[in-house]
Symmetry: C3
Subunit: 208 residues, 3 copies
């Protein structure tokens, strides 16, 4: 530490990586829920705890930003990146709440598939964030970002396939509405991951 | 005035308080509508007038911002706060328009309950805005912000309770859709109030 | 060129105008689709190509922004304008995708009407963008912006009229949901046009 000229820069990277870890924990817990088909009050409460942990990471990030004069990237980019990461967990929490609200029970393959996408995507987001610490390996960061976008694309296709099935085999209109919203929540988690790496890419572009 | 070194700062606070007043007038009129169960063209037109008044407050705020060199807070925070306050009234107007569009008639307890929440929340937003003028009583501002967040939370719970009832007792799917959207409008008014005080809190954090 | 002191400024205007042209091409192709009632995979693919072209315009704009020191307007306004224009084409692409996803066939007068609004609105957006190059004719720019807002208003009215019809004559609830979403996509294209000219107006205000 004594030899580090910019100790506070490190702190930013620490916080971003901590956030990626917290989100990944939440995603893995959520994936378990889909595998168990358990969307009860207790699961929602636990998801709320994860969301709370991430909120507190975000707050620490913004506080650090406010008291730091020289930042590793543009202040507004750090702010936006912190916000976009926060959106991921907020959306995941909403998805879990809705499953409980709509009294969804049982194991649904499509939900598990989406949850796997979440896991893969958040791991790739974490990789991109880690890369920011030393920009020597830009290619690796771009690759992680491309992975997140590829998964978002898969999510879009999965979304459309599910809507297609719902339109074909629906019985009850209310079931259709409920599932359409659930699937939309899921797709948007991947959108939020993509939005996060878009900020990372724009940081890379500025670093020239 | 002659002794005020920063007369323009006062002007910002005047405009923010005027905006809080305008929004509160609109909310109180909307609350009356819910109590009367009157969502006709005339009510929508009147809500539109309120929205127009708020728009003009917002415009004055942005014009003042553009011609003021030294601002009481970060320019972007003032801009964002003005935007978020504008979102509250836009959403309220949308809610009123939808009630008319969906030909809702009669008195609905849930709508009155939401309207009371709007009133309480907007009063608290106004209190937080007033506090910005002199930052001596930060605790009071934080308290007002906490109140807004508490009410938003109540709104979330009310939303979920109503959706629960709709799922249980619905007859017609289209009634379900209509009410789900109406309730979502309502919940989002409170979200917009919360977003406004989040900007206020971030201003407080920066003032150290 | 040799006599131009700010060659890079020109480049910004070139790119904005190119973007307006690309969006207009997409809108005209989409309008054809509504006239033919053809919302198949091939049409969606072609819309995707247009969206891709616009994305690449946006990227060039942001890259130019990053490597340009003196910009014709505030950097953040250029960034926001580029984003808002990009939103128009993204939304149009979503609209086309949904028509295919929901297996809509046949010619629908309301869709053609909306498509005409898109065309008129995007032409007016293009006129406003062209005006930015030389700010001598502010009145003409404001007029183009007003035109975009007027059309957005017409779109709102068309939206409400269609929802009214759907509520009155719907048979199937799922048909109702599908069309409500399609119409909402359409209305939002015009909203995105309006958001674009709002940025242009705020640029004009700042130029005093």
């Amino acid at each position: 530490m004594a030899f580090n000229l910019f100790p506070k820069e490190d702190k930013f990277f620490d916080l971003f990586e901590a956030q990626a870890e917290s989100i990944l924990k939440a995603v893995r817990y959520y994936k378990e829920l889909t595998e168990l088909g358990r969307f009860d009050e207790i699961s929602v409460q636990k998801m709320h705890d994860f969301e709370h942990e991430c909120d507190s990471n975000t707050r620490m990030m913004l506080e650090l930003l406010n008291k730091t004069f020289i930042t590793p990237f543009d202040r507004e980019d750090i702010h936006e990146l912190a916000d976009k990461l926060d959106d991921i967990i907020d959306r995941l929490y909403s998805a879990a709440k809705r499953l409980n609200l709509y009294k969804i029970t049982g194991v649904h393959e499509d939900l598990i598939r989406f949850a796997s996408y979440f896991e893969d995507s958040v791991i790739a987001v974490g990789r991109a964030l880690k890369g920011l610490r030393s920009l020597k390996q830009k290619a690796a960061i771009y690759q992680a970002c491309a992975e997140v976008k590829r998964i978002e694309n898969q999510g879009d296709q999965l979304n459309d396939a599910i809507i297609g099935k719902l339109l074909e085999f629906h019985g009850d209109a209310i079931e259709f509405i409920k599932w359409k919203e659930i699937i939309s929540d899921n797709e948007k988690v991947l959108d939020d991951c993509k939005d996060s790496v878009k900020v990372i890419e724009s940081i890379l572009v500025k670093q020239g």
